[in-house]
């Protein structure tokens, strides 16, 4: 692989990791001010700050490699849904299935089940990425790993508390996992961007940490008295830019101010 091909593979891979962090950060930021209790409101907004901080570091590096007019802001605010490479799991509303334009209460169980499934992947993935041949990515991984460990611990404690709680909280937690589990299939599918990043020695394919992820999920759900749901069904392709209807709504809210006032500073 020549230097240009490696740079291109890196940019796509950095955007994939950055889009994951930004989209989940934006989704979880919707709890800001309306969390179930003050401590949990703070817990989620703190984690959102971590995720958006990670996205910024990844976008800054992608923009530096891309050169030209690219900045972290152009990458976050001036790309459209098909340009995003995040997992579909992360863009879904914090609720059981609903259409994109529907309004309604957010579901704390779905929020924490998703945070759990994602951070259980990111802890071993960031750990492995500390050995990336691209030193700036290895440095971002080392920083993000510490934060992901906090996120995993927070989410797994809630999964256990609610799963092993009342009949209502147990049923709602089970419904959350039943709904989300099939979306995790996307972690393990092949994509050109991951293939190229692995070949260039800069990326790690999640299949490498699949057993670790599975063990974390099984141990935690067992402790929570929950059944590990089947993950068969529709296989999402967010990594290929094929998203659910929900991403455009999410981006619309996030990008509208930057697009109404391009280049504005304050």
């Amino acid at each position: 692989m020549n230097a240009v091909a490696i740079d291109n593979a890196l940019v796509d891979y950095l955007l994939h990791l950055g889009d994951n962090a930004l989209v989940l950060g934006q989704r979880n930021s919707q709890w800001c001010g309306v969390g179930p209790v003050l401590e949990e409101d703070l817990a989620l907004t703190n984690q959102t700050l971590d995720l958006i901080g990670q996205a910024r570091l990844l976008y800054q590096e992608a923009a530096r490699l891309q050169g030209g007019d690219a900045t972290e802001d152009t990458l976050a605010y001036f790309r459209d849904a098909p340009d995003f490479r995040n997992y579909v799991l992360l863009e879904l509303p914090a609720s059981l299935p609903r259409v994109g334009y529907a309004q309604g209460d957010m579901d704390w169980g779905v929020t924490l089940a998703r945070n759990f499934l994602y951070s259980a992947l990111m802890v071993p993935l960031w750990e492995a990425l500390q050995a990336s041949a691209h030193a700036p990515l290895a440095a971002i991984a080392a920083k993000s790993l510490k934060e992901a460990r906090y996120h995993l611990r927070h989410a797994s404690e809630w999964v256990v508390r609610l799963g092993d709680g009342t009949d209502v909280s147990h049923a709602r937690m089970q419904a959350a996992f039943d709904h989300l589990m099939p979306y995790t299939q996307e972690f393990w599918t092949d994509s050109d961007l991951e293939q190229a990043a692995v070949e260039a020695g800069v990326g790690v394919h999640p299949t490498q940490v699949r057993d670790v992820w599975r063990a974390t999920v099984e141990a935690t759900l067992q402790e929570a008295t929950l059944r590990v749901p089947s993950d068969v069904g529709y296989v999402p392709q967010g990594k290929q830019g094929l998203h659910s209807e929900h991403l455009s709504y999410l981006l619309g809210e996030m990008q509208c101010v930057a697009r109404a006032h391009p280049g504005a500073v304050w």
Binding site: N46, L51, G53, Q54, V123, K143, R149, T216, T220
Partner: protein, 184 residues
């Protein structure tokens, strides 16, 4: 007309260091950036020895105080009239283990329980680098002493507090709620 570029004089570097040593953390004004381990280096820039390069490192990826910190550093350098630039460096990742004992004592006096040591892997979450599966039975954590009465009879109210770097605790003896700087 061009003039030869003079490298930064050692006296200038010392002056810059002294001025930056006085800068405090915008969120915790009792400790300096140097004591926090945020200010990593003051040196002549490798690519232009006439320029002073100030190296800072973020605590948490999304710490909103970083922009303020970089601005404070720039304003200080401008006041000194020294041509300089601020560089952000990620590796090695910041850890609370870099905090001096003096800084820990200042935090305690200010009402924030200082962080315990996290050790070589720097996880500070009870997990080691080789430990993958999350532990459901937490290990006995290092006791956190109340900064007001010193009692270790305290409880964690929330692992996430007023800023990304702090957890919320309460003393079960004197009942004081307090911030604990998380080992990270």
């Amino acid at each position: 007309m061009t003039t030869a570029v003079a490298p930064v004089a050692p006296g200038v570097l010392a002056r810059v260091r002294a001025a930056l040593d006085a800068l405090t953390d915008p969120e915790i004004p009792v400790v300096t950036l140097a004591e926090m381990g945020i200010l990593r280096d003051v040196r002549p820039a490798a690519d232009d020895p006439s320029l002073v390069e100030v190296v800072i490192t973020p605590t948490y990826s999304g710490c909103p105080a970083m922009a303020q910190i970089a601005n404070d550093v720039r304003a200080t350098l401008q006041r000194l009239g020294v041509p300089a630039r601020v560089t952000t460096q990620l590796a090695p990742a910041w850890t609370t283990d870099w905090m001096s004992d003096a800084a820990r004592e200042k935090l305690r006096a200010y009402g924030i329980a200082p962080p315990g040591r996290c050790g070589v892997d720097g996880a500070g979450t009870g997990a080691t680098a080789s430990e993958h599966v999350v532990r459901l039975v937490p290990r006995a954590p290092e006791p956190v002493a109340c900064p007001r009465c010193g009692s270790t009879h305290t409880r964690e109210v929330s692992r996430f507090g007023s800023t990304a770097c702090k957890a919320l605790y309460q003393c079960l003896d004197c009942r004081e709620p307090f911030d604990h700087f998380k080992p990270h």
